[in-house]
């Protein structure tokens, strides 16, 4: 759902509501009035080529970056005017999975996952121990508590980071390129994990990616960021049928094998669905 001038803000019941967000870096408008509404409980995938400001947009949702103008409503509250201290409350409800995981490499896996609990709750060591074990099991890494991040593979690190980001049962989770830098098998594992997690913990997911396979597996809806604004918002199936020139180009170049991309066929945008499992929510 794209926002228009008449709809009220914040949109009622929306988890995240971005209204005309503008951000200028070194004279270039990375975000030029981007507006987007994310409903509670849905998985919104923000898609777009690299370097189009997807990650910058994501950082606006938990206040890591402030817009030059526009409003960012999180759970109905505009977080733009809030100070770092006032943002604490927001950030306890909105967690973020960073691109490289951003695990504290001086700490063990256990200490990493326990970190938010120690910082923000009065939990006893026993409760923390149980909760860490529970979260690690949830991401498929039970028994890795004593390992250091350096001993883990890239995919495992991301999963530990995911366990850390769900440590305090957030309402909204932001994913910054969850599959970037992973091999296809690990990417698929992460995608399945995100999809599975979405069903289990009933949180709102906002996922930034340029990985179309990832988008088709996990997305309830897709928002295509181009030129600093959202040029398309809809389901994956709608996106594949879109006539938007850049979006259809993007799909073609990312879903076709290199050789086939040169010779477009009538079914090009949908060619991918024949070879891969159906997109989430897409009818068989």
């Amino acid at each position: 759902m794209t926002t228009n001038a008449e709809s009220p803000h914040p949109a009622p019941g929306a988890a995240v509501d971005l209204v005309s967000v503008r951000k200028i870096y070194e004279g270039r408008a990375v975000l030029a009035g981007a507006s987007l509404t994310v409903e509670r409980g849905e998985t919104m995938v923000i898609l777009g080529p690299s370097g189009t400001g997807k990650s910058v947009l994501l950082r606006h949702i938990n206040g890591l970056t402030k817009p030059d103008s526009g409003q960012v409503y999180v759970c109905g509250r505009d977080i733009v005017p809030l100070s770092e201290e006032e943002l604490v409350e927001v950030r306890l409800r909105v967690s973020m999975l960073f691109q490289g995981g951003a695990l504290f490499d001086s700490m063990t896996v256990f200490d990493n996952v326990a970190f938010p609990m120690r910082e923000h709750t009065e939990m006893t060591p026993k409760e923390i121990k149980d909760r860490v074990a529970e979260k690690l099991a949830l991401v498929g890494l039970p028994g890795t508590q004593k390992k250091m991040p350096a001993e883990l593979s890239g995919g495992m690190r991301k999963r530990v980071a995911l366990a850390r980001s769900i440590a305090l049962d957030p309402e909204i989770i932001l994913f910054d390129e969850p599959t970037t830098g992973l091999d296809p098998i690990n990417s698929e594992k992460i995608n399945e994990l995100i999809d599975d997690l979405n069903e289990r913990i009933k949180a709102t997911f906002v996922v930034v990616t340029h990985d179309i396979v990832s988008a088709r597996t996990i997305a309830d809806r897709i928002a295509f960021l181009h030129g600093g604004t959202f040029e398309f918002v809809g389901t994956f199936a709608e996106a594949t049928r879109s006539t938007h020139p850049v979006l259809s180009d993007f799909f073609r170049s990312h879903t076709m094998p290199a050789g086939a991309a040169a010779a477009p066929s009538e079914t090009a945008p949908l060619a991918v669905s024949a070879a891969r499992p159906l997109a989430k929510g897409e009818p068989a």
């Binding site: 770092e84 973020m96 960073f98 951003a102 490499d105 001086s106 938010p116 923000h120």
Partner: protein, 273 residues
């Protein structure tokens, strides 16, 4: 009389304007840097008085910056004391310099060389370490992760390091003073045939509490400079691994210079008190 042409005057003015422009930009850069450090200092000090205390982290930092620096600072002090004794005996031989060895060694160490050399060594070891650690945390988004988890990075990262260095550097300095004096004693006894009791007596008669206080007093300031420059440079790394290296080098240079420059003004200040 020949008058310069209008073109000549124009270019002369242009050069002058360029100079002012460059100078102004540099100045603005320096002011930005100092302002940033000042702002971080206020936040870090204010955070030290708010919960949570991060006691464990502070102890860890004391170990890192204090206990693990003992080797380098002690060796430096010991050999400086030994060299001082040799040089004093040599250069003051004509005036019967041997008799003054205890005084010269102890005074120069306690007032000047102990605090400054220790601070330079710690600045190189600990300051660079802090910048490298915080710098790599910054470029791998660990500092952003702290903020995203609603934890203040200044309180979590800067304050414990500041407290750690602030309390450990004076202790390292006191030990360095002691070892330097012992180094001087070693040379006095073995090379210059002065008795240990004479050496200590001459120190005891000469050295005043104010000498020791001014030396140790300085080291508190040096500690702040090392920790704050190290943390600030680390947290402000932009880019990748190469920037971390540059920032680390910059910390060693900036910390050394600020120690040596502030030493002069602190000496003036303590002499005036």
């Amino acid at each position: 009389m020949h008058r310069p042409s209008e073109t000549t005057v124009f270019y002369r003015n242009l050069r002058w304007l360029r100079f002012v422009d460059t100078f102004g930009r540099r100045g603005a850069g320096v002011l930005d840097y100092l302002g940033g450090i000042a702002e971080m200092t206020v936040q870090a000090v204010a955070a030290a008085f708010r919960k949570p205390l991060y006691a464990q982290e502070i102890l860890h930092q004391m170990d890192e910056s204090g206990v693990k620096s003992l080797g380098i600072t002690n060796v430096t002090a010991l050999f400086t004391g030994m060299v001082l004794a040799l040089q004093t005996a040599y250069s003051l031989a004509a005036f019967g310099g041997k008799l003054f060895i205890g005084r010269v060694v102890s005074l120069s160490l306690v007032r000047e060389l102990g605090p400054v050399l220790t601070a330079l060594m710690v600045g190189g070891r600990v300051g660079a370490g802090i910048t490298a650690e915080l710098g790599s945390m910054t470029v791998t988004e660990q500092v952003d992760a702290l903020r995203a988890m609603a934890v203040n990075p200044v309180k979590r990262l800067v304050t414990p390091r500041l407290i750690g260095v602030f309390f450990m550097l004076p202790i390292l300095t006191a030990l360095a003073d002691l070892l330097g004096i012992l180094g001087g004693l070693l040379i006095a006894v073995t090379e210059l045939s002065i008795s240990a009791s004479f050496y200590f007596n001459s120190i005891w008669n000469q050295l005043r509490i104010s000498d020791i206080a001014s030396g140790l007093g300085k080291s508190f300031f040096f500690a702040m400079e090392i920790a704050l420059i190290g943390c600030y440079n680390g947290l402000n790394v932009r880019g990748g691994a190469a920037s971390v290296g540059t920032a680390t080098t910059q910390t060693v240079v900036a910390a050394s210079i600020s120690i040596l420059v502030s030493d002069f003004f602190l000496t003036k200040l303590f002499l005036a008190l």
